[in-house]
Point group: C2
Chain length 229, copies 2
């Protein structure tokens, strides 16, 4: 299988982590999300990341389709290592949280901060490159604070985000947080329970490649790959 | 079960149609999406529609979680009337299209047009009510045209949107289109194949309550409930 991704795409990281947790082998293909190349648009008319190309060559587009596909073709054979719970209502809670972190947090904050601080440095001016929009960044940072309050509450009231054991909800949340953390955008001091939860999740072997991610335009904050932080 | 909905919420209509196709009995509870009442926010911290309250009283939030829950608890027992295909890759295509219509079309156009033309008439000024933003409406209308081109292409190249038979993808698309059509925002003359497809879907018995929807602020275009149009 092949995964079209960008190292600073939170939703691409979510799928890399899922595949990593299940020990699936695949090739990573770097795709700039602002390049709407005809070849890539043929795979995914939405032009968004991630896209997983299955063994048969079919493109699976977006986290909703990919996450369920991985569960159906890999997760269901993983017994207690499956990242989806057994009961429909428990799965509904995992899916609510995946949506919360992959769609809402992304729209409220991550997407904006990545675009303004990272992508704009690489994007041609004709595609939206140029100076960062400081008003947009300020609004996004306010939203990060609100999201961290909710994450801190979740992490403090449950062992893992959707209940007792690790699920795809933790993976989705940690993927988003890892992108914000790379940029030093997480107010950890105000979120001790979220910090304790994130430390646990980022210590998992599947997280290693994520912590090794480096992009030319921006070096990560010093604690980014530190497992004791 | 109870469904918190608004008649002009495309994603609420999607779930009403799914439940209708499967003959599930439930109560409808009207919820204004701009009222962030404490009671409703307890059910869904995202404050968005739809929310399905299960038989056990648990809240299932958002179309991703609800659509999969209905499939798992109802659809899988429906044999050839199931609205999800049997094979994982076929299901991936259905989910891509659900995401396309419920998230992307909604963000690109439907949400804006409903907010500007309908919700703003009912919303208090302190909550964003007031005069419609004509620039936002113009941009949304441009996006409707693009989406209709894609829908027309899908409807022309496949019998149903995701393949040979009717799936949740058709239901999701028709739910969104029905909201735009209510407002007279669909350029049908440019989309003959989409029109033929929509006429087929809206003739289904499950669609009847949707075609009977009326809101105080805006009467529908004259052809809205016309099955021969």
């Amino acid at each position: 299988m092949q995964l079209y991704h960008h190292p600073m795409s939170a939703n691409s990281r979510f799928i890399r982590l899922l595949l990593g947790e299940y020990g699936v082998e695949y090739d990573l293909i770097h795709q700039n999300p602002w390049d709407r190349e005809a070849e890539f648009m043929k795979l995914n008319p939405a032009g968004t990341l991630p896209v997983l190309v299955s063994e048969s060559g079919a493109a699976i587009c977006g986290i909703y389709a990919i996450c369920e596909y991985i569960d159906e073709t890999r997760g269901t054979m993983m017994r207690e290592r499956r990242l989806m719970p057994d009961y429909p209502l428990d799965r509904a809670e995992v899916r609510r949280l995946i949506d919360w972190f992959c769609v809402r947090l992304d729209q409220d904050a991550t997407k904006t901060l990545v675009r303004e601080r990272v992508f704009k440095l690489d994007m041609p001016r004709t595609n939206g490159g140029g100076a960062p929009d400081s008003a947009a960044m300020r609004a996004a940072r306010g939203n990060v604070k609100q999201h961290m309050r909710y994450l801190n509450w979740l992490a403090g009231s449950r062992n893992c985000l959707s209940g007792k054991s690790l699920t795809a909800a933790d993976i989705a949340a940690a993927a988003s947080i890892s992108v914000l953390d790379y940029m030093g955008e997480v107010p950890w001091a105000d979120s001790p329970q979220a910090a304790e939860w994130y430390q646990r999740v980022k210590s998992r072997p599947a997280f290693r490649p994520i912590l090794e991610d480096r992009i030319r335009a921006l070096t990560p904050v010093s604690h980014y790959a530190d497992l004791d932080f």
